[in-house]
Amino acid sequence: MPLRYAIALLLLTVVPLVVIGWLGSRVVARQNEQQRAQLQRLMRSRLDELDQRFIALSRLYQTQLTANLSQADRNVDSLRDLRRQSPLVHATMLVDRDGRLIYPERPATDASHDILWHAVLSELARRRPIGAADDSKPADDRLLTSILSRKLATGRRSTAKQPPRQSRWQTCYHDNGLQLALWLPRDDQSATGVVLERGRWMADLIQSVPDSGEKGESFALHNSDNETIYRWGDPVPDDDAIRESIRMSAPWSSWSLSYALPESSQLQWPTAPWLPLAALLVSIVTCLSLLGIYLMTAMQRQMALAQQQVSFASHVSHELRTPLTNIRLYTDLARRDLAKSKESPTESAASKRLDVIEEESRRLSRIVSGVLEMVSGKNKLRLIQRVPDDVIRTTIESFLPSLQHRQIRTDLRLDASRAVQLDEDLLDIILVNLISNVEKYAGQGGRLEIRSAQTPSDTIIDIIDDGPGIPRSSIRKVFAPFQRLDDSLESPAGTGLGLAIARNAARRHDGDLVYVTKRQGAHFRLTLRHGNQVKSNADVPTFKRSQS
């Protein structure tokens, strides 16, 4: 295969492939991006859902502890009982308006742990939230009541008759981590507060999350140091997971919640478009390659065939010309021999026959020259002053015997009697081809009509028959070389070159040969231009040149 065809084939397949691949990858990338974003949103919403549970838990704490603190008021004994009895309470505090811790007192023991705790409480008291409370109302949320102690849940609700004051969260770090304190401010700027039992609220957080996630999901609760406090759902290996995390709401705002999905679970949808795209690309490449190869080979075969036909025609023509020349030579010699001998009736009859032989061999020679001219190049025109009608008559005369044999009537309406510059051989070639077509295709008992007319610049010759004609769709094709409308075995013999040669000849004569659309039969119109003959080289006969 020539290099340029290989390159063309490569381009034919590679270019669309690259374009489709690029577009496809962009689509997939965008889709991936969108799906990832969607997934991220989904994960976030799952986390927000969870966070709502924690918010509910903190509200529940707030409600209950506010009620407890309201009831205890500033009574130290009640505050102490609250600390001793409530599982949720690690310490209770009473602070005066200047932020001094009134209760609990500094411990009598010298246990450093207790002393440290007292210091922490004092610090909490000093920094307690003062001023307008935020908008977090103590919510009446009984959803999670079950996870709080029954002791707290029962009996103490009835006391919350006075208008509830708003409690405020406060956080600090002590004893390995976050500690939560809740303050109930009083009108005189003093306040009571509790420090929640850390182990307890951590256990409640654990208890308030669902027992398990959906398949493949993994949730985790992380503390301020990003250590995992609790993990639930299916374990997801760290290295191939998609993660999302959010900060938890107050009072656990330094903690976070995370959500993980295994990367492999994501493969099921966002990466999937690659598969059909890849399949599409592969099939397109295959189709284009096959098509390209098919076209390439078909074209090559066509070209080889045409080459063969042309070389065949030229071979045959050359092979024919030599014996023809010899025939003409010996005809000439025979005539001279005849002239030397005495005149007799047989002599004149023989002379007449020799005339026919000469005439026919000349004609055959012209046809061969036409073919050679068609396939091998362009000889110059041999223009002489001739009457077109004479040429037509001479040509039709040679066809008469076979036309009569086929019962084809000839109808000549000739009106081109003015002598013009023309190449008799070329015109003869054109007419021979057209008339032999009529002879071949018009069929038994048909009619051949030849008309001629002249304008100052043109001679127009129409060859009309009432045979089957040419279908409209094939008109363009008939002039192409080696085109035969009916290529079946039963069709008349021929090379498919006749009309091509005829048109070629007409155009060389500065004219044209066209097919005139007609309802019945075929109608060819030959136009010969003889106004300004440019291609004038009348003295050089085609034969002689070819022969020499």
Binding site: R80, R83, R84, Q85, S86, P87, L88, H90, P104, E105, P107, A108, T109, A111, S146, I147, S149, R150, K151, D175, N176, G177, E197, R198, G199, R200, M202, A203, I206, Q207, D211, T228, I229, Y230, R231, W232, G233, P235
Partner: protein, 454 residues
């Protein structure tokens, strides 16, 4: 019920003495309260330290049928380290435990590795077969989310929390908590909260890789037992002992309050968790077993007094739920101190039995300190403390033997022996891991006056 262990024998002994003191079985179905000072008579004219002991003794349940129902959560470690023999024994132990429960009891089974799974949600033990089948299916792998395991166990117990039953979480672990909160403080905090709800936590440490500090802390604040189980083979026996105790609880929901006279300053509770607030001391106690004596020692500082006068020291009030009679019972006691110039009189009045218990607790606290010193690499100092313990215990033991206070002798000699053995073995680095677990278990056993152990 079988009073199999030495500890139990001591308590049985003291129960008999109390029985003699009261002279009758009039209070046979009530918890006995005994409040005494080490030195009922003290030197006049100076501020002095004195130890107050508050002791409670459970009565005997007439028959097994009347025992209160239990609500127990078995929290089993199924992390990777438990695989093989350990998980097999643990399953066997759990199944044995399930077999001992009656239809009225409530049980739940929680498994934890890196996640927590509620294998059997709290349910009546009547459907034993399906519970046991679930336990048999357990396989071990993963990490150790101990805190979450206990949390979930407590949550299961909480579902059917009732005053008239014994609420208990039993935690079995053989490894270090490595997922979730893992500091003793956090576990203590959880245990402290649970005990306020009436849920006690027992911890069973299996093998040599668990964190005994964490397990002991959880059990001691959680009002439960702790056991160090060296061999998986012993698991079933320890579970049985735990259930012996669990199934013999006669009273719970204790509120023990000591109100001290203004002239008496509470210094600290020795060997037990409590809440000292001004002149008021509150001691949490989850439950009392049949015939178990449980005591608490409060170190006090008494202001100077004049010779031949008496002064009130403390009023003790105990409220509890009697699980036999299903009533809230109340006990009160009052203790006074006498001031004297005479040393002989003071010496003579000294309560050697109380002294023995105080010494046990004080030496145990020292034993704890020795453990910490050994941890810090101060082997000599630790050894010195342990030897001092052995010596002090030996002195007290001899004193008690002379005075005929025999009831405390076995415990004294056992702890004395342990201390002297520890003093010698503590140098050996290879044995330290195991010895430490033994020491921590002993400390907890003495402090909690556990009904089973070594």
């Amino acid at each position: 019920m079988k009073p199999a262990t030495s500890a139990c024998r001591i308590f049985t002994g003291s129960w008999l003495i109390l029985g003699l003191l009261f002279g009758s079985n009039l209070h046979a179905e009530q918890v006995q309260l005994d409040v005494r000072l080490v030195n009922p008579t003290i030197k006049s004219g100076a501020k002095q330290t004195n130890y107050l002991r508050v002791a409670l003794t459970g009565f005997d349940m007439p028959s097994d049928k009347e025992r209160p129902p239990v609500n127990v959560a078995l929290v089993l470690d199924r992390s990777g380290s438990m695989s093989g023999e350990k998980i097999a024994r643990a399953k066997e132990a759990a199944i044995t435990a399930i077999n001992r429960l009656s239809d009225q009891d409530i049980v739940s089974v929680i498994l934890y590795d890196s996640n927590v799974e509620v294998l059997v949600p709290a349910t009546k033990a009547s459907d034993r077969e399906s519970i046991k089948a679930a336990i048999r299916s357990v396989q071990a792998n993963g990490s150790t989310a101990l805190f979450a395991g206990v949390s979930k166990g407590a949550a299961e117990v909480r579902k059917f929390l009732a005053d008239d039953q014994v609420n208990r979480v039993i935690l079995l672990s053989d490894g270090l908590a490595n997922v979730g909160p893992k500091s003793p403080q956090d576990l203590e905090s959880l245990g402290r909260s649970l005990i306020k709800e009436g849920i006690s936590v027992s911890t069973l440490g299996l093998g040599l890789n668990y964190n005994e500090d964490l397990m002991v802390a959880l059990a001691s604040v959680g009002g439960g037992n702790h056991a160090f189980i060296e061999q998986a083979d012993d698991l079933v026996a320890v579970f049985n002992q735990e259930f012996d105790g669990l199934l013999s609880v006669v009273a719970n929901e204790f509120e023990i309050n000591i109100d001290l006279d203004p002239s008496v300053r509470p210094v600290r509770l020795i060997g037990s968790e409590g809440d000292i607030d001004g002149q008021s001391v509150h001691i949490p106690l989850a439950q009392l077993y049949a015939k178990q004596e449980r005591y608490f020692i409060l170190e006090t500082e008494i202001d100077a007094g004049e010779s031949d006068t008496t002064r009130p020291v403390a009023d003790v009030a105990v409220k509890y739920r009697n699980l036999k009679t299903e009533t809230m019972d109340k006990l009160t006691s009052h203790v006074e101190v006498r001031f004297s110039d005479s040393d002989t009189e003071i010496e003579k009045a000294r309560d050697l039995e109380i002294l023995a218990y105080c010494t046990l607790q004080v030496t145990t606290e020292r034993n704890r300190r020795a453990t910490a010193l050994r941890d810090a690499g101060q082997v000599q100092e630790a050894q010195k403390l342990l030897r001092q313990n052995a010596d002090e215990l030996s002195v007290v033991r001899l004193q008690c033997a002379d005075a005929g206070v025999d009831v405390v002798l076995p415990e004294l000699s056992q702890v004395e022996k342990s201390n002297s053995v520890q003093a010698e073995s503590i140098i050996d680095v290879k044995k330290w891991g195991m010895l430490r677990k033994g020491m921590r278990a002993m400390q907890n056993r003495v402090e909690q006056q556990q009904t089973y152990g070594e």
